[in-house]
């Protein structure tokens, strides 16, 4: 096939392409009727539509890092404060409530108990036990005139284990039942509090 052979075909194609297409006016109407019959897309509600509409926003690297760090911090704090080891919620309580089962509440059913320790030469004496979370500075004793140290605190009914810290050294209560040294090198004392009395 040569160029001279192609020429009549090219001319024929061009002629056919230039010829206007005659469309049946009824066909146009049928197409438009079908389009009008299609249900219109439901417009989204104004509020939800705005909220759910995807959008793009820009964030600087510093902003992104701050946002990520903030989320991690919230997660760490929330996880630490909201649930303790016993699976009990501590929301609304101070973050030190790690051992919530320890009897630290001062309810109206508590019994007021007086602790006395004789140490005329001591400078500082503290009462430390399960009732104050074994805090070595939370419950100081006051010096009395006869060389003894005293403190009066409310305790819930039950068995309490405790000791005294006398100028930094642990000491058992000589007037209370003993508990054996279980490996910490210091024997404890035991106070059994009943409603209105104590052992």
């Amino acid at each position: 096939m040569t160029d001279s052979d192609l020429h009549p075909y090219v001319e024929w194609i061009a002629r056919e392409a230039r010829r206007p297409v005659v469309v049946d006016p009824a066909a146009r109407e049928r197409v438009m009727a079908a389009v009008r019959a299609e249900p219109l897309p439901r417009p989204q509600s104004t509020v939800w539509g705005r909220l759910l509409r995807p959008r793009a926003f820009t964030l600087s690297p510093v902003g992104g890092a701050l946002l990520a760090a903030g989320l991690v911090g919230i997660g760490v704090l929330g996880g630490t404060l909201a649930i303790n080891r016993d699976g009990q919620s501590t929301v609304g309580q101070p973050p030190v409530a790690v051992a919530p089962r320890l009897p630290v509440s001062h309810s109206t059913t508590d019994t007021v108990v007086r602790f006395v320790y004789l140490a005329p030469q001591a400078d500082k004496v503290y009462l430390v036990g399960d009732f104050n979370g074994w805090d070595t500075t939370k419950t100081p004793l006051s010096r009395a005139g006869d060389g003894s140290w005293t403190v009066t605190i409310p305790l819930s009914a039950g068995r309490h284990v405790y000791g005294f810290v006398v100028d930094g050294s642990w000491a058992a209560d000589p007037h209370a039942p003993r508990a054996p040294d279980d490996g910490f090198g210091h024997a404890n004392s035991v106070k059994l509090v009943r409603r209105g009395s104590s052992l």
């Binding site: 911090g73 790690v98 320890l102 039950g158 508990a179 035991v190 052992l199």
Partner: protein
């Protein structure tokens, strides 16, 4: 390019600082954080206790006691693990009792009592708590009274229906005799002979603790 590397570096520093501050803040509220590398082992013990139905209060308290006494964290975990074992034994011997009694019984085992000696206290008696008996018994063992003597004395009083006041009176007298220089075992033997087993009942009122109860 250089600008973006600088920005990335600064962002990393800020993020690390915030994360560090958050971690510190979380640790401030957790005294048990001082267990440091042994915290995981401690948590495992707590998990085991919860799975076995053992209260975790005594274990948490023991850990806090160790921290207050500035004991090495490894030693604390060792003591807590031992306590967990004693709580389990006490639980098996006594059945379903309260946390306080279980803790007192575990301390009693630590002092030298045998698990089989606890089984006498397994039947629950209405209006009667074995807390005082356990505390007095533990004290006797801590004062070098032989376990067999202490055990038989406490068991006799318990079977005879002794109440808290009788146990308390026995403890006061024996402690006084020991401080006077009497042999601890002899002091107990002397005092147990003169101790009434049963409290005098109030007129028209049945003695406490004589009704059996299936559970507490």
């Amino acid at each position: 390019m250089t600008l973006s590397i600088r920005r990335g570096f600064r962002a990393s520093v800020v993020a690390a600082s915030l994360l560090f501050a958050s971690t510190l803040s979380a640790q401030d509220g957790d005294p048990l954080a001082k267990l440091e590398n042994n915290r995981y082992a401690f948590d495992l013990i707590l998990d085991s206790a919860m799975a076995a139905g053992i209260p975790t209060g005594p274990l948490l308290s023991k850990a806090r006691e160790g921290i207050a006494k500035k004991i090495d964290s490894r030693k604390i975990v060792e003591v807590v693990r031992k306590l967990f074992g004693e709580l389990r034994i006490a639980h098996a011997a006594l059945g379903g009792v309260g946390e306080q009694e279980l803790s007192a019984a575990a301390t009693l085992l630590e002092a030298g009592a045998k698990p089989s000696q606890l089984e006498l206290f397994r039947p629950r008696q209405k209006g009667r708590s074995d807390l005082t008996a356990f505390i007095v018994w533990t004290d006797f063992l801590s004062r070098s009274i032989p376990n067999e003597e202490a055990s038989s004395a406490i068991a006799k009083l318990w079977r005879d229906g002794a109440d808290d006041e009788i146990f308390q009176s026995l403890w006061t007298n024996v402690k006084g005799d020991i401080s006077q220089g009497l042999n601890p075992g002899t002091a107990l033997q002397n005092r147990i002979r003169e101790t009434p087993g049963r409290a005098s009942p109030a007129p028209g009122k049945p003695p406490e603790g004589q009704e059996n109860q299936s559970s507490r």
